[in-house]
Symmetry: D2
Subunit: 493 residues, 4 copies
C-alpha cells in the first residue's frame, strides 16, 4: 500500500471519478434488482459498492444500507443482506471507481442522511466545479463533512434549503451545485433522478414488467447509467433522462404510468455529453444518451480507416488489424473492413492478443518490472497472427502511454514485420474536470511530444495516427440541442 493512498485527505480537492448509479421503484425485491444492475455496471467502478433501500416501519420511513470495498459480487455475497436488511420496494445503488489519494470508507455511496425533512439517500456520478467554495460556505453555517467526496455537498445543500418538500429542496440544491452530475436519490416522496443542465454524464430511464406473488403483472421503474443494467434484469429502456431534467417516480407513477418531470434551470442550455462514453467508458452493448454505443464505435473505426488508411508493406505484406481487447474490438473491426473495402487495400482482422479472464492481484518479485509484468499477466500474443505480418493495432485512446508502451513491447516480441497503431480518438491533452479520472497535464504523453510520429517513436511503433476531432464528432450521434464535451482533447472548457 502506498502511503499517500491510504491517507484520508480531509478536503475535497480531487474531482470524483466516473462511477455507475442505479435506482428502482416499485419492486418487492428492489435491492436484489439494484444488485443485478450494479453488477452489470461493474466496469464503471471496481473499488466499492453500496445499496440503500427505504421502507416504512410503524408508519415511519427508515432506511437500510450496505456499503463496502470490493466488487459487487463480493460486497453482497451474503444473501441475507437482501432478505433481512435491504428490505423495501425502492432502492438505489452505486459503484465506486478508485481514486488515488481519496480512498476512505466514508466515501462509499449511497450517502444516507436523516435531516429536518426526513431521510434521503443519494448516488452521484460526476463531479462539481466549485466544491471548495461551496464547502466553505456550508461550513460557515455549521455543516460538518464526514467524507472527502464532493457528493456530500448535495446532502448539505438539500438540508439547508428552506423549501417545503424534499423534491423542491433537491431542485433548489441543484441550482446551486454547478458541475457534472447524474443522480439517483431516494426520498420519502419517491425515487428522484436527475442529469445536470449540461448533461455531461448519462442516465437512462426504463421499466420492468414482473409478476407479483399473485401472478399479476406489475411494473417497476428503473434508472441506470447504461442500459446494459436494464438488460440484466429484463427491463426495457423508456428514454434517456434529459439534461437539465429531474424526474420523480412515486406511487402515482405506478398507477398512471406517468413520470413527473421538472426542469432544473428555467432555461435548458445546449447539452455537452461526454464523448468519452462513446470512445471508451460505456459497454458496447449499452445505450447511453439514447444511442447505441456499439454503433458509434463502429463508425469511429470506419472514419479512422478513411482518415488514416494502412497500407501493405513494400514487399507486399497485406494489412493485419488487431485490437487491444476489449475496448478496441469494435473500432478495430470497423477499421479493418473499411480499409479493405473503401480503401481497397487487402486487409484482415485477426485476434492477436488474448486477454486473461483470471486477473487479480499477482505476487510480484522484488526487482521485477511491475507494469510490464501486469501487462503480461493480462495479455498474451497469438504468435501465428503477428509473426512476420504487417500489423496495425487499434486502441481506443492513449492517456499516459505507459501501458501502451508495455503492450507494444509485448507485441514486438512476437516479431511483426511492421507494427503500426491507430487510435480511435484525438490525443488527450487535458485532464477532465467533469468526473473522468484523468491524470494531470504533465502525465499525458501527448503533452510531451509535438507530432504523432514522435509519440509513435517513443512507444516503439513504426507508425501512429489518431482520429481527428472532426472525424470523431462526425462519428457520434447528433441530436438537436446536443453537443459534446471534448475538453480533454482541446483544453477549452
Amino acid at each position: 500500500m502506498n502511503k499517500s493512498k491510504s491517507i484520508t485527505t480531509n478536503q475535497i480537492d480531487k474531482p470524483q471519478s466516473n462511477c455507475g448509479i442505479v435506482g428502482i421503484y416499485g419492486h418487492p425485491q428492489a435491492s436484489v434488482m439494484a444488485y443485478y444492475m450494479l453488477h452489470s455496471l461493474q466496469h464503471r467502478g471496481q473499488e466499492a459498492a453500496g445499496i440503500t433501500t427505504f421502507f416504512k416501519d410503524n408508519n415511519k420511513w427508515k432506511y437500510a444500507s450496505h456499503r463496502k470495498d470490493g466488487l459487487v459480487l463480493n460486497v453482497f455475497e451474503d444473501q441475507k443482506i437482501f432478505t433481512e436488511k435491504l428490505i423495501g420496494n425502492m432502492a438505489i445503488g452505486h459503484n465506486r471507481y478508485a481514486i488515488i489519494g481519496n480512498s476512505t470508507d466514508a466515501n462509499i455511496q449511497p450517502f444516507n442522511m436523516c435531516y429536518g425533512n426526513g431521510n434521503i439517500s443519494l448516488s452521484h456520478n460526476g463531479c462539481l466545479y466549485n466544491p471548495k467554495s461551496l464547502q466553505k460556505e456550508l461550513e460557515s453555517k455549521g455543516a460538518i463533512f464526514t467524507s472527502t467526496s464532493d457528493s456530500e455537498l448535495f446532502l448539505h445543500l438539500i438540508a439547508h434549503s428552506k423549501k417545503k418538500t424534499q423534491v423542491e429542496q433537491i431542485l433548489e440544491a441543484l441550482t446551486i451545485a454547478k458541475g457534472a452530475y447524474s443522480l439517483a436519490i431516494l426520498t420519502e416522496e419517491g425515487l428522484v433522478a436527475a442529469r445536470d443542465p449540461n448533461g455531461i454524464r448519462p442516465l437512462s430511464l426504463g421499466k420492468l414488467v414482473f409478476k407479483d406473488e399473485n401472478n399479476k403483472e406489475q411494473i417497476a421503474y428503473v434508472v441506470a447509467s447504461e442500459t446494459c443494467a436494464f438488460d440484466m434484469i429484463g427491463a426495457k429502456e423508456i428514454r434517456s433522462i434529459k439534461h437539465n431534467e429531474l424526474i420523480v417516480i412515486d406511487d402515482e407513477t405506478l398507477n398512471t404510468g406517468e413520470v413527473k418531470s421538472y426542469n432544473i434551470l428555467p432555461k435548458t442550455p445546449i447539452a455537452h455529453h461526454c464523448i468519452f462514453e462513446y470512445i471508451y467508458f460505456a459497454r458496447p452493448d449499452s445505450r447511453v444518451f439514447g444511442h447505441n454505443v456499439d454503433k458509434a464505435r463502429r463508425k469511429i473505426g470506419k472514419n479512422l480507416a478513411a482518415e488514416h488508411p494502412a497500407h501493405p508493406t513494400k514487399d507486399g505484406k497485406k494489412v493485419t488489424v488487431i485490437s487491444i481487447p476489449d475496448s478496441g474490438n469494435t473500432s478495430a473491426i470497423g477499421y479493418a473492413r473499411t480499409n479493405h473495402e473503401l480503401n481497397e487495400i487487402d486487409t484482415v482482422f485477426e485476434i492477436g492478443l488474448i486477454r486473461s479472464h483470471y486477473v487479480g492481484r499477482t505476487f510480484i518479485q522484488p526487482g521485477q518490472d511491475n507494469r510490464e509484468f501486469k501487462v503480461k499477466s493480462k495479455f498474451n500474443t497469438v504468435k501465428g497472427v503477428i509473426e512476420d505480418r504487417n500489423i496495425v493495432i487499434v486502441d481506443d485512446s492513449i492517456v499516459r502511454g505507459t501501458t501502451s508502451k508495455s503492450l507494444i513491447k509485448l507485441i514486438r516480441n512476437a516479431n511483426p514485420a511492421k507494427l503500426q497503431m491507430r487510435i480511435a480518438s484525438p490525443p488527450v491533452v487535458s485532464p477532465c474536470y467533469y468526473g473522468m479520472d484523468f491524470p494531470t497535464k504533465e502525465e499525458l504523453i501527448a503533452n510531451h511530444f509535438n507530432t504523432e510520429e514522435e509519440i509513435g517513436k517513443e512507444l516503439g511503433l513504426d507508425g501512429l495516427h489518431y482520429l481527428s476531432l472532426n472525424k470523431l464528432l462526425e462519428s457520434v450521434p447528433r441530436d438537436e440541442g446536443i453537443d459534446y464535451c471534448t475538453a480533454c482533447f482541446t483544453d477549452s472548457y
Copy 2:
C-alpha cells in the same frame, strides 16, 4: 440474523451503551499505543473498534481513520494500518458495545469531521438525555445526521458554535449536551478529554515515559476509561479526570508537564459515579474514578457475607462458596472468607465452574435450547466440588435472570446437597438511562416477583439473597463531592 437487528433505525431512540475510549498525545507511534490500550479495554465493547490519528501534511492538518466491526485484534490485524495509514503522534480510539436495533457501520467511532474550524475526531462513552430534541433543533439549522448514535450530536454542537478556538467550541457544546459522557477528542489544538458534570462514566489520565529514536527519554500523555489500559503500555496513572472537567494536552504540556484544565459548568455539581463500574463493568485489575476496582469488589463480598451469611445444612455440611467466573470471583472470595472468619461458619471457597477460553459462535442444532447450550459451551461444573455439598454461588448481579437460570440448572446437574445464591448488588429494577445496556423494565426479573424467595424459586435455588443498597454504598469508595448513581436499583433518577 434477526430482522430487527439488521435494520438501520434512523432516529436516535436508544441510549448508547457502555464502551471503552482511549487517547494519546506525543508518541511517534500513537496509533499502536491506542491499539494496545483498546485491546485491554476489549471487555467494554466487542462489536466494533476504531482509531483515528491526526498529522500534518504540507502544513495542513489531516486525519486518518480505521474503523470496523469485530474485536480489536481482528479490526487491526494488518500491521500496515499502523505504519502506512494511522500515522501521526496523537490518536484516539473506541471500542463499541453491541446494541440490538442500532447496528450500522455508520455508528462505529471515532466520529471524524471536517468543519468550518478544521478537523475534529471524537470518541464517546455514555449517552445523552435529550438526543431527540437536540437533533430536531440542529436539523432545523440544516444539520444532517449520518449515524443513529447520539454521539454525533457533539459534532454538530461543536460545528454550530460561534466560538473561536476548537477547545472553546467544545466547551460550549458540552454546556448544551446534557447527559453522561466521557470523551476523548482529537483537535488541531491538541488532545481534549472530558467527563460530564455528573461524572457518570470513568476516564483516567496517565503518562508514558518512553525512549525516542535517539534513546532520549520522552513523555506522552494518555487517557483511558480504565487504568488497565495504562498497564498494558507501561503508562502510569496521574489521576482520574474530574467530573465537570475538560483537559487539553498539547505541545506545551509536553514541554511543561502541565495539563490545561477547564470547568464545563461554572459550578461543579455533586458527582454521581456509576456504581455498576465497581460491581461488574470494570476489570478488577483496573482503577476507575481513582480507586481500585478489586478493593471495592472484595469489600462488597465481605458485606454480603455480613448481611446474608450462609449456614451449614441441618446434617452439618459446611458451606462451599463458588463463583460465576470471572465477574463473581473477587466477591466470592471475600464472601467465603468473611463467612468463615466473621460469621464463624465453616466455609471454603472452591472453583466449581470452569470457564472455557475458546468461546465463539457455535453451531446450534435446530430444536436445541439455545441459551442452555450457550451456557454449556461456556461453563462446565467441577463435579467433585459440587456433588453432595452445601453450595453458595456468588454472582455480581441478576438482570433478566435467563442466563442465571440456565447456569443454575447446569450446577443442579452436578447434584449439590443444597444450592443457594448470593448477589453482590441489589435487585435491578430499572433500565439505565446513562449508557449501560439494560433491558426494559418488563424484561427485568426483579420486576416480576415480590421477594427474594420468589425469585430464588423461579431460578431453581434453595435460597437467594441480594446485597442491600446501603451495604453496597458502604462498600464503595467515598470521596468528597462524590455520590453514586444507583438509579437502576431505585428507579429514581
Copy 3:
C-alpha cells in the same frame, strides 16, 4: 452445496478431468516461476492448485508443498509461501479441474510421498483405463489409498517397483499404468516429465534464460501443458515432449544442455492426440503438440464455411457472423472471411455478444431460472449488431446443449431476422475416457436427435450445421506417426 458433491467417494470410479501441469528445474525461485506458469494455465482447472518444491536440508532431501482449493492467485496470495516455505530450485505445480462427486482436499495435487527410495512428488494430467483393477492389486500388497484420484496409483506403482533408481522405478510404473497421462515428477534425481505412449494429453519442454544474483546468465528448464505458460515467464519452447517419451532434467542438463530421453514402451505406437485441445481446451495463444492452436482453429473456421456456407436471406440480408466469446472467436473470424471470399457471399464478422469480466458466484433468487440467469450474468447482446440481421453464430462445440439453448434465447431477444449456428466440430456422442470431463451419453444432446435439423430446432435455431469429422481432421496439423483421438465424436476407442 449438493449432497453428492461434498461426499468423498472412496473408490476411484470417475475419470480425472483435464488439468494443467508445470515443472521447472534450475531456478533459485522455482516456486515463483511455477506459480506464474500455473496462473497462465488457469483455464485448464479452477478448482484447486498446488506447488511442491524439493530442496536439501542437512544433505537430506526434503519437500515443501502448498495445496488448496481456489484459483492460483488465491491459493498463493500470501507471498511468504514462496520465500519461507516453497524453497528450492526445482518445483512442479498442478491446476485441478472440478469434478462432481470427486471433490476432496485429499485429491489436490501435486501428490507427495516419502517411500523406500526417497521422496517423490507428482502432477498428473489425464486418466488411467484400469484404475480399479490396479488399485485392487496394489491393495492386496498392503497399499493404502488416501485420495480418490487415479493419480495416486502412480505413487504406489513406483513404490512397489524393485528397480534401483527413482527414474527406473518411474519407467517401470509407466509400463503398468495404462491410460492417458502427461506427468511432471520431482525426484531426488531430477525433474522427470513424460507423456503416455498414445500421447493423448500435451506437454511441452522449454528453457528459460535468466540472470543470477551475480548477473551471470543461467538456464532453467521448464515443462508445461501449454506454451502460454512459457510466455508468461519469458521461457522459449524447445519442443513438445514426444508420446511414449520420458525425459529427465538434472544438474548435468544444466551443464551440458542435454535432456535425457527414454522410451516408455520399447516400441512407440502411433500417437492419438486429443483433438479437443485444438477445438476448445487450449488457449489460442498456446502451442500444444508442437503446433499453434490458433492456426488450427482458423483453419477449422475456413473449412466450416467451405462445408456449410451461410447465405443471404430471401430479402437479401447479408450474413452477419458472430461468435460465442472467447472460444468461438478465431473460428468465427475464419468462417466469416471464407464465406465472404471463397463462397463469395456478402458476409461481415461482428461482435454480437459481450462477455463480462466480473463473473463469480451470483446470488440467485429462489424460483429464478438458474441457467438462464448465469448466461445473462456472463453475456449480453449488442442489439445494433443483431436486430433485424441475418445472424450466424459460430461456437466450438455443443455438449449437453443446455447453455447453448439459454444463449440462443438471449440472442433471440435481440430480434435477429434469421438465426443460424455453425459448430466448429462434429456432434459429441460419447463421453471421454481419457481425461476430459464429459457427461454421460444420456446427457449429450446429440444422442437425443437424429439430425442437425432436429437439434437446431430444439435449440431454437433457424439452421444448424456441424463441421464433419473429415473436415475437422483436415484442419489440424498432421505430423508423421501422429493421429488423433476422436472417440467423443465416433464412440470408437
Copy 4:
C-alpha cells in the same frame, strides 16, 4: 513465520504431541456430537481439527472427512459441513496440537484410508517409540508415506496385516506398534477404541441417551480423551478404557448394551499413566483414567503446603497466595487453605492476576520484547492484592522458565513486599518420549541449575520450592495395577 516451521520434514523424527480424540457410534447426528466434544477438548490441541464419518451409499461404505487448520469453531463454521457432508451415524474427531517443524496439512487427523479390506479412519493421541525403523520396514514392502506423523504407521500396519477382519487387523497392528497411543478408529465393523498396554494417555467410554425423531429413547456410545467432552453433550461416563484394552462398539452393542473388549497383549502389564494429565493437561472439570482431575489437583496443593509452607515476613505480613490462572487455580486454593489450617499460618487466597479473554495474535512492534509483551497481553496484575504483600505464587510446573520469568517480572512491577513461588510438581529434567511436547534437555531450566534456590534467583524470586516426587505420587489416585509415568521428572524410562 519461521523458516524451519513451515518446512515439511519428510521423515518422522519428532514425537507427536498431546491431542484430543473423540468418537461416537449410533447417533443420527454423529458429526455434530463429535464437533461439540472436540470443542470442549480444545485445550488439548489448537493447531487443527478434523472429523470423519462413515456411512453407507448404495450398500457400500464410504467416508466423508473435513480437516483444517484452526480452532474447532473455525474449522467447522459452515454448518452445511454437518448436514451435507459429514453424514452417517458414526464419527471420530481429532484436535491437533502444534509442533514446531512438523506443521503440514497432510498431518491433520483423522487419517482416512481405503485399503484391501475396506475403509478405515483413525485418530491418535500419543506417540510411538520406534517410528523410524517401522517406517523403514514398511517402505521396504512398498508403503508410501504422505504425512510426517507417526500416526500414519498404524494405517500401514493394518493394511499389511493378513488377518481377516478389520478388528483383527487392528489388534495385530497394535502388537507391532510400540509406544503411547489412545485411539479412536472408524471401521466398517464399528467404532474401535484402544489404549496402549502401558496406558499412558487417557481415554474414557460413555453413553448418551437421546430421543430419536419418533421421540423414542435411544442410546449412542461415545469415547473421548476427557469426560468434559461427555458433559458437553449430556453423555455419562461408563468407565475409563483400560490399558491394553481394545473395545468395539457396533450395532450389537446398541441392542445389547454390551461393548466388546479385547486384550492387545496377552498379558496386561502394569499401567503407567501420564502424571502430567493430573498436574496440568486435563481440565479440572474432567475425569481422566477414571478419576476427578480436580480432586488430585487439590490434594497436590495441600501436599505442597505441607511440604513447603509459606511463612509471614519478619515484620509480620501474612501470606497471600495467588495462582497463575487457570492451571494453578485449584492447587493454589488447596495450598492456601492448608497453609492456613494445617500449618496454622495466617494465609489468604486472592486473585492477583487477571487473565484476558481476548487473546489472539497481537501486532508486535519491531524491537519490542516479544515474550514480555505476550505475557502482558494475556495477564495483568491486581495491584491492590500484591502491593506490599507477602506473595506466594502457585503454578503447576516450570518447563523452560522463560514465561515464568516474564510473569514474575510483571508481578514484581506491582511491588510485593516479598515474592515466592511454589510449584505443584517436581523439576522437569527430561523431555517426554510419549507424546507431550516438551523441549530438549538443554532448554529445560532445571538442567541449568543445581538447586531450587538458584532457579528461584534466576527467575527473580525470593523463594522457590517444588513439590517432591514422593508427595506428588501421594497426591494422585492409586488403583491396583496402576503406576505413573514420571520420566520427565526422573529421566528414567
